[in-house]
Each structure stands twice: as C-alpha cells, then as structure tokens.
C-alpha cells in the first residue's frame, strides 16, 4: 500500500514537472516579446507618456519576477493583459508624438515669419533711439520718461530676442516663438513711447 502511494506521488510530481516545463517555453517567449516591444517604444514613451510607461514597466518587472520564481502559469495568464497595456502605450506615444511634431512644425513656420519681422522692428527702434539720443531736446510727443522707458525697453527686447534665437537654435521652436511674441509686444509699446507708428 505504501509502495502504491509512493508511486502515485512520483507520477504526480512527474506530471507537474512536465506541465511546468511545457509552460516555461511559452512564458519565456511571451516575456521576451513584451520586453522587446517595450524596449522599442521606451525612449519615445519616456518623453510623451512617462506615467503610462512607468505602469507598464512595473507590470513587466512583476512578470519577470514571477517567471524567475517558476510561476509560468501566472506569467502566461497575465501576459495578454500586459500586451494590451503595451499596445495602449504604443498608441498613446504615436498620438502624442504626432501632436508634438505638428506643434513643432507650426512653431517653426511661425518662427520663420517672426525672425524676419522682429529684427526689423528692433532696428527701427534702435535707429530712432540713436537719433533721439543725439537730439538737443526731445520731440513734443516724447517725454523724457517715455524716452528712458523706450531705451530700457529696447535693451530688454534685444536680450529676449537673443534668448529666443538661442531657443530656436537648440530645437525649441515653441519657446522661441513665445519669446519672439513677447519681444514684439514690448516693441509695440516702445514704438508708442517713441511716437512711432506700429507695424
């Protein structure tokens, strides 16, 4: 009787070992595939969908831990859910990347227009400030306070324009455009302070 029980136990253990061995390979493949897909999207995901990537990475790490403990069944059971999460991550990244590229293209187009316009504005103001600085007295429509404000405004415009140009050179067209708009707004104020017509 005891011999019979021992034999059944041996058979059961053998079957379990075979079952585990049968699940190890598909579990390994599933993990490798998930790992590969996550690796392919990781850089863009870190930029465009960091929170979603973090969730996927945590789940993937959990599955790897289960695989390491030999829980292949759990790996196979949970892999489809993680695959869906990875697909969702890929979709989010593609959409946000597309939106960012469209925004960058629009900002670049706008920058091209601003980079032709703003320097002419700065030149016009600089010219007038230089001439008025040589004048024995200011024209009737420009007070000393307004002239002083215009001079400091011009310096601020030039500094901000340098920052805008640097931002664009660094590939940040959005910041460059925002700063260029700021320069133009300030320039309109300065033109008024100098009694000049705005563009």
């Amino acid at each position: 009787m005891r011999s019979l029980n021992a034999r059944w136990i041996f058979v059961a253990v053998a079957l379990l070992a075979v079952a585990c061995a049968n699940q190890k390979e598909p579990a390994e493949k599933a993990l490798a595939q998930l790992d590969s897909v996550v690796a392919s999207v990781r850089d863009d995901a870190a930029r465009y969908a960091a929170d979603e990537l973090q969730g996927v990475e945590a789940s993937l790490s959990g599955l790897k831990e289960k695989f390491g403990k030999g829980d292949y069944k759990a790996v196979l059971a949970e892999a489809p859910k993680l695959t869906a999460a990875v697909d969702s991550l890929k979709s989010t990244v593609a959409q946000k990347k597309s939106e960012a590229e469209a925004a960058m293209a629009a900002a670049t187009t706008e920058w091209n227009a601003l980079s032709a316009d703003v320097p002419r504005m700065v030149d016009a103001i600089q010219s007038r400030v230089d001439i008025l600085s040589k004048s024995s007295k200011l024209p009737k429509n420009v007070s000393k306070e307004a002239f002083d404000a215009a001079k400091s405004g011009l310096e601020s415009m030039k500094a901000t324009w340098s920052e805008a140009s640097a931002a664009f050179a660094a590939g940040d067209a959005t910041t460059a455009v925002a700063k260029a708009h700021s320069v133009r707004q300030q320039g309109n104020d300065v033109l008024q302070q100098l009694g000049m017509k705005t563009g």
Partner: protein, 66 residues
C-alpha cells in the same frame, strides 16, 4: 506744414514715412520728429535715393524717417 507720420510701407512694417507738405523743410521735419532741427541730415541721408540737395524737397514726396 508738418503733420502725423504716414502709415508704414508694406515691405517694412516698421519703416516710418512722412509726405512733404507745402512749406516744409528737412529741418522743420527733423524738429517735428526728433525735437532738433539740426538733425535734418539723418533724414537727408535716409532719402538720398530721391534727394540730391537737403534744401530741395517737394510737396508730395514720401520721405523715410529713420
């Protein structure tokens, strides 16, 4: 007679212009725009393409005011 500056030209939205009226002189225009009639050469130099003599300007001429 000096009046308000004209609207900027389309090719340079920030260039300032003035159309000469009867009785104007460059020094009078300089005094209006710069507060100092002695700065008239600035206007003359900016309009050398149409002025050969600072004392000879004609009504209707569109002068650039730098």
């Amino acid at each position: 007679m000096v009046t308000e500056p004209q609207a900027p030209a389309a090719n340079d939205p920030y260039a300032q212009y003035y159309v000469v009226k009867k009785g104007d002189s460059l020094s009078k225009i300089a005094e209006e725009f710069y507060g100092d009639k002695m700065l008239y050469p600035k206007i003359f130099e900016a309009n050398r393409d149409q002025l050969s003599d600072p004392n000879k300007i004609k009504p209707g001429q569109k002068l650039r005011i730098p």
